[in-house]
Symmetry: C2
Amino acid sequence: MISLEQARARILAPLRATAAEVVALSEAWGRVAAVPVRARLTQPPRDVSAMDGFALCAADGRLGAVLRVVGSAPAGHPWEGTLRPGEALRIFTGSIMPAGADAVLLQEDAEFAGARVTVQEAVAVGRWIRPAGQDFASGDVLVQAGKRLNSRDIGLIAAGNHPWLSVHRRPRVAILATGDEIALPGEPIPAGGIVSSNSHALAALVRACGGEPVVLPVAPDDPASLAAAAAAASGMDMFVTTGGASVGQHDLVQSALGGLQVDFWTVAMRPGKPVIHGQLGDVPMLGLPGNPVSSLICGIVFLLPAIERLSGLPGEAPPVVQATLAAPLGANDQRADHLRATLAEGPDGALLVTAFARQDSAMLGVLARADALILRPPHAPALAAGASVPIIRLDALGL
Amino acid sequence: MISLEQARARILAPLRATAAEVVALSEAWGRVAAVPVRARLTQPPRDVSAMDGFALCAADGRLGAVLRVVGSAPAGHPWEGTLRPGEALRIFTGSIMPAGADAVLLQEDAEFAGARVTVQEAVAVGRWIRPAGQDFASGDVLVQAGKRLNSRDIGLIAAGNHPWLSVHRRPRVAILATGDEIALPGEPIPAGGIVSSNSHALAALVRACGGEPVVLPVAPDDPASLAAAAAAASGMDMFVTTGGASVGQHDLVQSALGGLQVDFWTVAMRPGKPVIHGQLGDVPMLGLPGNPVSSLICGIVFLLPAIERLSGLPGEAPPVVQATLAAPLGANDQRADHLRATLAEGPDGALLVTAFARQDSAMLGVLARADALILRPPHAPALAAGASVPIIRLDALGL
């Protein structure tokens, strides 16, 4: 039996980012840049006004001066002449400053009548002018390779004049539920059977992490069916099974998947001790427990970082924050525990966490109502209320 | 000029959740339940074993007792007989407990040879049995209406035997960039023009919030083009414009959108003072500034809650947390400010926030590099390093 951290490191070690594909900018939100994105132009391309007002020579901008307005240059309609002493040009936010001008008289500091403008507040050289390249210069890296693109990145890349982007292909993850007792939702349920929840919960998790789930047909508990299903995982970026509980998963997988090179098959964690990791031909294989809670929690601690790694991200442990225990916790045994818990805000703004009384790994309702998992390392001592504990915020992760 | 809070309340007030549509469970991740989802079965349907071992009568389970093994019942293959005194049944995790049995002898507490099993640890009535309905009973509400479905909800709903779900239709948000100076990325840029970043950044934000963006063709700054574009927004759940900077947006919108009932057109905030809100026929209209930073920040503070409200969620202000200032801040004026800032973890684990020195609303690069927005209420006093300030975590929101 190996530790959770060892297991995660061994799952992540062989994973490499998927190859790149080209997508339209409008489809790139949430994708991971495969190459650095460099600006294809300078922004602003030339010195522009930051305000509505008048461009002029700073030397002319003394209080009481009266200037001749030679034209108007809305953004998108630059004035091509050269401003001479005694002249002013009507400009607006984003207008290109005309040649000869080095100052902006704000609209609210100007009295404008006919073709004359009177300076009512002295101007300063360069004030209210955005210099060319203030935002970025052509060739600047706007977004580094390996960044997941948010809406601000999309805006910046658009401004950098990219209609297409190279992003990592979404990792394709084949998901196989096994077990004679398993029926898909809405289908006839065999005697003593249960409805399959694991494969679609894991598929949703894969989607939440930016992967592309491929849910395989349920395989009954016999080696031939399992082997046939495994063949369908060829070419996938990862093959995830979720075990029927009826037969020792390890034995079945060992016998069914002839070509499987097993790396490990038990992890010192709860829920989720029987986790198989290996390689089936070119495809990394992760065998998760059949209990729905175990399956999803193993998905969060192992599959989430694996999909991130495959997506071109660093792929580390799920983000952990500290919270304050609202009630005491008993000592832990030798297995890393993941207690389903609720969060509340304390009177002083502290994040209070309370473990559910029942932690049965078959209780999916409790997991669905949980806001967080309290992480209890092996042999963690008993803790009093008020102690600080590490938690994974499920609510914040959209899992 | 109204306050940011008043503006948000007036934007949200007329919005109603979209009607429901039916989607497959496998497409329901991230959608919002339109009706309560009730369990269609009881889980577990009958008493089941929580472990691998033997079912027996508790009275027989004393240390040293030898029982006759009458069969084996893997999960999915229930045993139909009735267990009699002196008998035991081989069972596994999830196996239905046979009639007559009221205890489980764990595999590791049993010596099993031929058809005999010897009790090596006394059993207790009910121990290691999951009672019928422990997870949920038929008719229980698994997920309330108005909840955005995460991967755990999907698992629970699958277990409750639902292949189809009623969810709120994704709000369709028409996005119109206006301005003579605007070109789409990769297209020819007019003299003095800039590449349109607002519409695709806002489209990504709409997508991040669970909406469906409809990006309209860019409209030049003339009333006829604007009016034609506005007609294209008919039937949408919301119409968002992002203004060309070349002409006073308010005047243009007023003249172009004959049917527009304006609610307000300026908000005491920075960046983003010129925000128009109104109603164009049946369609709520939100006019955002043309500056890319202003446009996106207004998107975060107004459009995000609006899309949530349209999606069937409560739709409140974006989530705010407290952080510790790493450097002092000057006093604020009368406009609610949103300072672009970076986050770091302090030596004591505190969340440290530092505002960028340059807060120009044309600097999209700074916004893209920001982890958070520091919220500065109107007339907020100067603050020393170490003070606690409210922030919006952009990184955590995927915006």
